[in-house]
């Protein structure tokens, strides 16, 4: 049995916004995303590290976004960085938005704000984090 439950951000109308983005990604990125998520699901918390394809958003520049994490999916065409956070319940991780990273900057430019807003909305209303339609 998986150690973690992975959830996705849904809007108030129940649409899985993260999975909509997933479906638009290149095949290689989707395959690697699934493989990394499969690994992370079965790891203890200390196993959620860079080697397993996960990093917390950290550094002075990103102090405002404390609590967010990124999956590290490096493919030949791009560095994909799906963003999420630990919660809202115990042993759960919620995927918020699909981002990419280039030259140390996240894309689209407002994606960290989007993730932060969604995280706060989930914390205020945990029903917005629901089972992934993956």
């Amino acid at each position: 049995m998986a150690a973690w439950t992975v959830l996705c951000f849904h809007n108030e109308r129940g649409r899985d916004l993260f999975c909509q983005q997933y479906a638009e990604q290149p095949v290689r990125a989707r395959a690697k995303f699934r493989a990394i998520l499969d690994v992370l699901r079965d790891q203890p918390i200390e196993g959620w590290n860079r080697e397993s394809g996960f990093d917390l958003i950290a550094g002075k520049k990103y102090g405002r976004y404390h609590g967010l994490g990124k999956l590290r999916i490096n493919t030949p065409d791009a560095a994909h960085r799906p963003l999420g956070f630990f919660g809202p319940g115990l042993r759960s991780f919620t995927l918020l938005v699909w981002a990419t990273e280039r030259d140390g900057e996240f894309h689209p430019p407002n994606v960290l704000e989007t993730a932060l807003t969604r995280m706060r909305r989930v914390l205020a209303d945990p029903r917005l984090a629901d089972a992934c339609d993956l």
Binding site: V27, A31, K32, R34, A35, I36, D38, R41, N74
Partner: protein, 215 residues
């Protein structure tokens, strides 16, 4: 519990490119996690594993990172040698690949190092152990699915000792029975001779009774 979601099954069914990419990424991810899980289980640092495999610490670090790791068969043989375990590289049906890579928890991916005792079930005719092969773990007895590395080794050793012990007891029992039979036979013959010497068979009390009456 389902191995994959219906949606992912559809995605794999309808997209050959996805099947190929996922196979590659998942295999690489599993190898990276398994290499690390076995190093940690043996309480080795990356540098120590590097010494066993003839690689640098930074090389080991890269091979434990699923994003950048690239493996050759030679590399995998080196890790198998360092961990003193087996390595299975084979083509299997796609659904079997999904089943075999379903559980990536460290405890499931740890494999014990070789011990002579682990071979006992292979040459023994009498007793069969439950299947503890990691690659067939999905079909194994539930109790074996999450047993820690050292516990597996201990069980194998205990089993081997038990087997040898049982054989020793069996041999000792056979020998004792043979001796006992011979002793009983001799005792019976002795008793018969005593009885025959003291009384004609079937007349008067047994010798012991006669002695106690005299006393």
């Amino acid at each position: 519990m389902p191995v994959i979601s219906k949606k992912f099954a559809d995605e794999l069914s309808n997209n050959k490119e996805m099947r190929d990419a996922y196979l590659e990424e998942k295999t690489r991810a599993k190898l990276a996690v398994q290499i690390k899980a076995n190093r940690v289980a043996r309480e080795w640092s990356q540098a120590e594993l590097g010494q066993w495999t003839g690689k640098t610490q930074s090389n080991i670090h890269r091979l434990e990172d699923q994003n950048i790791a690239r493996y050759t068969l030679t590399t995998l043989f080196q890790f198998a040698s360092a961990y003193d375990c087996g390595l299975v590289v084979e083509f299997v049906p796609y659904h079997e690949f999904l089943q075999r890579t379903a559980d990536l928890s460290p405890s499931h991916l740890q494999v014990p190092s070789f011990t002579p005792a682990s071979l006992a079930p292979l040459w023994s005719d009498n007793v069969q152990l439950p299947n503890v092969d990691q690659h067939n773990a999905i079909n194994a007895q539930p109790i074996y699915q999450h047993i820690e590395n050292r516990e597996k080794t201990l069980i194998m050793q205990s089993y081997s000792w038990l087997l040898l012990w049982t054989r020793n007891i069996e041999n000792a029992a056979k020998s004792a029975m043979a001796n006992l039979s011979r002793d009983i036979e001799l005792s019976a013959q002795d008793a018969l001779q005593v009885i025959q010497a003291s009384q004609p068979l079937g007349t008067g009390p047994p010798p012991e009774f006669a002695i106690s009456q005299q006393g």
